[in-house]
């Protein structure tokens, strides 16, 4: 606690020393860690890990947009064995919660990863049912309440850690999906993942991304994310980790006022490698200026 600020939050029974984490896919422990001490964050959320190594999509995988970007990385990762061997021990040296994001093409694949991670000391698991880049299953799960519920039920049946379900915004009614995963036992909800976008190079007359479409993220999407957190808060009782375009401490406060319990910083870290700790410091300054001591006080300062 500093200057009478108490930033602690408890998400699904796990206490974080502050409510800021990294967004999966934008954080690499060694690389990001060479710019800032990620031990200062309440939690770190690592890149989606699958049961076997995934190659990801052909390049180009990245395109810039006005106030945002598109990515079609396709969840390239070395697989859960290497994650357990290399990443977990490295991150555990730091005083921060470790949230392992889990990727899969099928319910069985998600469960296979969860089973392996059960035997480790990760603090929480975030099930990525929403990545729009994976052709099979990925987009289906997150956009269909029955499938979203089915994954949640299967994972919860075997998970030995709290389970966060990460939702895709590419749906007609996000509250429908949120209610479905709550009904099947999700311990927390994380939203939003990326929107679906595309860019065309008008000089070459070609699509920029090899995958044609990509996940749209960055400050341009914040209003969609804030609206969805607001809606989901009023639909479920679960803890909410909110993300989508957070660049500053005030952006984070906006998510708390919408109803989030914690926030994640993603694309901002591509523009500014130290963004997650900068957002944390900005949040503290905002709280001091506004006279708030706790995150709860930020939420309570919001009236309909």
């Amino acid at each position: 606690m500093e200057n009478n600020l108490d930033l602690r939050v408890t998400i699904a029974g796990v206490e974080w020393k502050n409510p800021v984490t990294t967004a999966s896919g934008t954080f690499n422990a060694r690389e990001s860690g060479s710019f800032y001490d990620f031990g200062k964050l309440g939690a770190v959320t690592t890149k989606g890990v699958s049961d076997v190594a995934w190659d990801g999509n052909p390049t180009p995988r990245i395109a810039e947009t006005y106030g945002g970007m598109l990515n079609a990385v396709g969840l390239q990762n070395p697989g859960v064995d290497e994650y357990i061997r290399e990443e977990i021990p490295f991150i555990r040296k730091y005083d921060t919660r470790l949230i392992a994001n889990v990727a899969g093409h099928t319910v069985e694949e998600y469960c296979a990863v969860v089973e392996r991670l059960n035997e480790t000391d990760v603090d929480m698991m975030e099930i990525n049912i929403s990545c729009p880049n994976v052709k099979e299953g990925g987009i289906g799960f997150g956009t269909d309440p029955r499938m979203a519920g089915a994954v949640t039920r299967a994972v919860k049946a075997i998970a030995k850690k709290p389970v966060i379900i990460k939702l895709t915004p590419n749906v007609t009614d996000i509250t429908e999906i949120a209610r479905a995963v709550e009904a099947e036992g999700a311990d927390a909800i994380c939203l939003i993942n990326t929107l679906l976008g595309m860019r065309i190079d008008v000089r070459k007359g070609r699509l920029i991304l090899a995958n044609k479409t990509g996940g749209f993220s960055g400050p341009a999407i914040k209003p969609v994310a804030v609206r969805m957190v607001y809606q989901v808060r009023r639909a479920v009782k679960l803890p909410i980790i909110g993300l989508g375009g957070i660049m500053t401490g005030e952006d984070a406060a906006e998510f708390f006022m919408a109803g989030a319990d914690a926030v994640a910083v993603g694309t901002a870290a591509l523009t500014n490698p130290t963004a997650p700790v900068d957002v944390l410091e900005g949040l503290k300054r905002y709280m001091q200026e506004m006279g708030f001591s706790t995150i709860q006080e930020i939420r309570e300062a919001f009236t309909e």
């Binding site: 896919g25 934008t26 954080f27 690499n28 060694r30 690389e31 990001s32 860690g33 060479s34 710019f35 800032y36 001490d37 890149k47 190659d55 990801g56 390049t59 180009p60 995988r61 990245i62 395109a63 810039e64 006005y66 106030g67 945002g68 970007m69 990515n71 990385v73 390239q76 990762n77 920029i208 960055g218 400050p219 694309t267 870290a269 591509l270 523009t271 500014n272 490698p273 130290t274």
Partner: protein, 262 residues
């Protein structure tokens, strides 16, 4: 573990040296001292709507001056070209693996091949090779208008020029010029369009030689977190793996790179 940072630096000079090619000088002893040939810096634009860093190769790092020579190829570099002397921008320390000069010693012959906007990194490379005591031959290819030729000659390198248009030097491309002049060396380094790097690798493979090539790919974060900028390479077992150009590269061995279909 914190070792890398983004610094706010002042642009000392920013001038065109050829059509759509600009030369920028930045005063930063920290960055200049850290930079090795074949590395790049991430340049963050002042326009907040343009989020992504522009990775620009180190042209020359000497004393406390970092020189970047870049092509105006899109919105970001167009904005960069408009920054006047005195403008402050954020840039990273030098990133990437850079060229490996460990095996280059006194009296060795080095051939460095630069194509178009692949020419700028040859300046730092030539200087570094000279420092190792090597004899440097530089073969530079341009579409039409050569640039940085005098600066390269000033490092003591023997410079050969090729232009596609025939406007200056040899009428043809870098690989053709190398073949024509029967140029050879103990060590080869290159930077330029993929088609040039591939042709050079194939030619040198026939001579039982390998070449360090600088690869390029659209980047996201530019420092190894987002896994956007991968390049297919063969690992020790001959399997194709995807390596990050910003972190594992940008320099790879020509023999490692999977050239087909890329």
């Amino acid at each position: 573990m914190k070792e890398k940072k983004i610094s706010v630096v002042k642009i000392e000079k920013n001038e065109p040296i050829a059509e759509n090619v600009y030369r920028m000088e930045i005063s930063s002893s920290e960055i200049a001292l850290s930079a090795k040939s074949g590395q790049f810096v991430n340049v963050y634009l002042n326009n907040p709507s343009k989020l992504l860093p522009r990775p620009i190769s180190v042209c020359r790092a000497s004393g406390d001056t970092l020189t970047l020579v870049y092509g105006v190829v899109g919105d970001g570099t167009k904005e960069l070209a408009a920054y006047e002397a005195g403008t402050e921008i954020r840039i990273s320390v030098a990133l990437g693996n850079g060229y490996d000069l460990a095996k280059v010693t006194v009296g060795h012959k080095a051939l460095i091949a630069g194509g178009g906007i692949g020419v700028p990194p040859m300046l730092q490379l030539a200087a570094a090779l000279k420092k190792n005591g090597a004899q440097v031959t530089a073969v530079l290819g341009f579409k039409d208008e050569p640039f940085l030729v005098e600066e390269l000659e000033a490092t003591g390198a023997m410079v050969h020029i090729a232009t596609d248009s025939g406007n200056a030097g040899f009428h043809g491309n870098v690989v053709q010029l190398i073949q024509e002049e029967q140029l050879c060396a103990d060590h080869y380094f290159a930077c330029g369009p993929k088609v040039m790097l591939k042709a050079l690798t194939e030619y040198l493979t026939e001579q039982q030689a390998d070449v360090q090539v600088s690869m390029e790919e659209r980047m996201g974060c530019g420092f190894g977190a987002c896994v956007g900028c991968v390049c297919d390479v063969y690992d020790e077992d001959g399997n194709v793996v995807k390596k990050k150009v910003c972190k594992d590269g940008p320099v790879f061995w020509g023999s490692e790179v999977v050239w087909d279909g890329k």
